[in-house]
Amino acid sequence: MPEAAAIALPPIEETTLPDRGKVGLLCLILTEVALFSIFVVAYIFYIGKSLNGPYPKDVLTLPIFATICLLSSSATVEMAIRSLRKHQAGAFKLWLGLTILLGAVFLQQTASEWHKLITQDHLTIATNLFGTTYYALVGLHASHVVIGLTLLTLVFLIALRGFNLAGPQERRVELLSWYWHFVDIVWVVVFTVVYVVGR
């Protein structure tokens, strides 16, 4: 190998690489968006095609209170992250607890809505196409709320045991908050499709 002929090497190009957790979570959100899209398409496709009642306009009411709860939980989880960054452990626990509470209230609201639909309006998943698509789409979203709440509660319990989540662990809590924001944004779509367009 003619070493003498070697040419002075240019400097290596600097690359800044993003955090793998963030990229991984964004990929997960992308694939979840695709999943929800299919259920939303099915819902829109079957609007007005039920052969028998009850129909959406007869039984659905706008879930304003539940929506306010869920959307404000996005703000509270953001506040929790900010206090974590400032190493305010007490405020972090407070905001996180409030987020969990708001999420739980949302689930309770969904549960009582389903209870009313099933017992009073006799709408089940097997009643008609509206029931089929409604329970599938709202249920898919609710199951995501359950997953998010479980993880948030886990973090809350870890924080309650006095474990310091600031510093290197902060990133993971932040990723969880991204997931929670995603669940909230999906609700805006579900709300629009099911309670505004579909009614």
Binding site: P2, I12, E13, L17, P18, T31, A42, I125, L129, T132
Partner: protein, 557 residues
């Protein structure tokens, strides 16, 4: 650069016997071991599903044959298709991506190693679940009924009213599990390529192979949920009394087809682009030239990634869509031929004027180029809606997609296996047996699938278990069956080659092909930590720069 002989992995010699060795493989999170396990899974299920195909060809070799009863034949083509797509094609992508992406970008492991291991085991569990239906599934024919609804399982025919028992549920759940595994791999590959590149490797210098794996990952993330959603809806229909595909309650009979093919057509590219990735690594090395039109290649791959999301309904020309829809999907199908054509020309441009070495990996690549070109041409024929009305669900379609998946993906797979086997095991595969394997496979492949084009044009429908004499199909079918047997022999030679070469193959050294990408800069097989020292990356061919400091690539890039 003389390659240094390197001893075969000593851990296997020192192991405390079979149980502890097995234990090590079961608990591993190492991307190389997971890649090898994915590859073993690919090859084992390829042989299983291949024998199902040979059984079908045996039944079809002569008219009015009674070797295999019709209900068994339905299970054969269903399990054959499902296995080949979900438990051969998808693990093939996962095997290559797992083993090679970290090595090519100079990383220690994948971005999420434990998730990676979970992905492998759940995919394997899905495959086992599918086959356990042969024992535990229930259908119209009683116990031990495997799924018999075809690999795309059109609803409403898969509804409870028409598919009694549990065999269809085995199909649904096996594929949902495989989907979870594929999604995990896609997330992992994407995050690895974006976040773990070594110093100096900008996206512009990233190997084409890694680029293509990223595009595949994107397609999996966007398209696969359509299938998963469809499966969940079908399960709700079957077990909760929902009506997604229930026409009696106002449900739509075509909706499933849209969901399935929205996944199904990108899936075709998910299966072939890993093949493109192998070709794009092998062709330059064996032509002794850098890749021709590298940037155009990246652009074409990304274009395929997006356009493939808008062509799905060309599988449905015959179901009675509006003529606007037919026109749109015919046009988008023509459009996707453009980036695919760019790729073919780029590979040819790479070979043009090169000092081509006809080693076995390169032979498989050349076979790929011919066969994939023909597959693309018949694809364009089928993309013309009026012609598709004539040819739909005929053996012409069977011949077309076997040309893409077998003549394309499988040939690229074997090219890749012959190329990277030395890296993964430290030993070369035998060239003599490799050439026997290649030529017999080419012969068998063309004997099998060329006549099917003609049988299809003469009106032979797919999925029939037998046919009457005197329709002019006998000769084509007989030749086709002889070809299937020839392919079987070729695959056996390959299996023998692998077993013999693992024991007695020539020791490969670090860089047996005098190649240029980073995986050849480490030992064969690589140590658990992959690289002791990493070459600096200043161009798309870092090892070329290292071997030729007087004429480095970075001066010209």
């Amino acid at each position: 650069m003389a390659s240094v002989a390197y001893p075969v992995d000593e851990r296997s010699v020192k192991a405390l016997g079979l149980p502890s060795a097995l234990h090590e493989w079961v608990i591993t999170v190492d991307h190389k071991r997971l890649g090898i396990m994915y590859m073993i899974m690919t090859l084992v299920f390829f042989m299983i599903a291949g024998s199902l195909a040979v059984a079908m060809r045996a039944q079809l070799s002569i008219p009015n044959n009674t070797l295999i009863p019709p209900e068994v034949f339905n299970r054969l083509f269903t399990v054959h298709g499902t296995t080949m797509v979900f438990f051969v094609g998808m693990p093939f992508f996962a095997a290559l991506a797992n083993y090679l992406v970290p090595l090519m970008i100079g990383a220690r492991d994948m971005a999420f190693p434990r998730l990676n291991a979970f992905g492998f085991w759940i995919t394997l569990f899905g495959a086992i679940l599918l086959y356990s239906s042969y024992i535990a599934g229930e259908g119209l024919a009683g116990h031990g009924t495997a799924p018999d609804v075809g690999w795309f399982a059109y609803a409403p025919l898969t509804e409870r009213a028409f598919s009694r028992g549990t065999s269809t549920d085995y199909w649904i759940l096996a594929i949902v599990l495989s989907g979870i595994g594929s999604t995990i791999t896609a997330i992992n590959v994407f995050a690895t390529a974006i976040c773990l590149r070594t110093k100096g490797m900008t996206l512009a210098k990233m190997p084409l192979f890694v680029w293509m794996m990223c595009v595949v990952s994107f397609q999996i993330l966007v398209a696969l949920p359509a299938l998963t959603a469809g499966q969940v809806m079908l399960l709700m229909d079957r077990y909760l009394g929902a009506h997604f595909f229930d026409t009696q309650a106002g449900g739509d009979a075509v909706l499933w087809q849209h969901f399935f093919w929205f996944f199904g057509h990108p899936e075709v590219y998910i299966l072939i682009i890993p093949g493109f990735a192998c070709i794009s690594e092998i062709v330059p090395v064996f032509s002794r030239k850098p890749m021709f039109g590298r940037i155009a290649m990246i652009g074409a791959t990304v274009a395929i990634g997006f356009i493939s999301l808008s062509v799905w309904a060309h599988h449905m020309f015959a179901v009675g869509m509006s003529s606007q829809a037919n026109t749109f999907f015919a046009a988008s199908t023509m459009l996707i031929g453009v980036p695919t054509g760019i790729k073919i020309f780029n590979w040819l441009g790479t070979m043009w004027g090169g000092h081509i070495r006809f080693d076995t990996p390169m032979l498989f690549c050349i076979g790929f180029l011919f066969q994939f070109l023909i597959a693309g041409l018949t694809g364009i024929m089928l993309g013309v809606a009026p012609l598709d009305w004539q040819l739909t669900d005929s053996y012409f379609v069977v011949a077309h997609f076997h040309y893409t998946l077998m003549g394309g993906t499988l040939f690229a797979l074997f090219g890749g296996v012959y190329y990277w086997f030395p890296k993964a095991t430290g030993r070369m595969l035998s060239e003599t047996l490799g050439k026997w394997h290649f030529w017999l496979l080419v012969l068998g492949f063309h004997l099998t699938f060329d006549p099917q084009h003609f049988a299809g044009m003469l009106g032979m429908p797919r999925r029939i278990y037998t046919y009457a004499a005197g329709r002019g199909w006998e000769g084509y079918n007989l030749v086709s069956s002889v070809g299937a047997a020839t392919q079987g022999i070729a695959i056996l030679i390959f299996a023998i080659n692998v077993i013999l070469s693992l024991r007695r193959g020539r020791v490969a050294g670090n860089d047996p092909w005098d190649a240029w990408s980073l995986e050849w800069a480490t030992t064969s097989p690589p140590a658990e930590y992959n690289f002791e020292t990493l070459p600096e990356v200043r161009s798309t061919r870092p090892l070329w720069d290292l071997k030729h400091p007087e004429d480095p690539d970075w001066k010209f890039e």
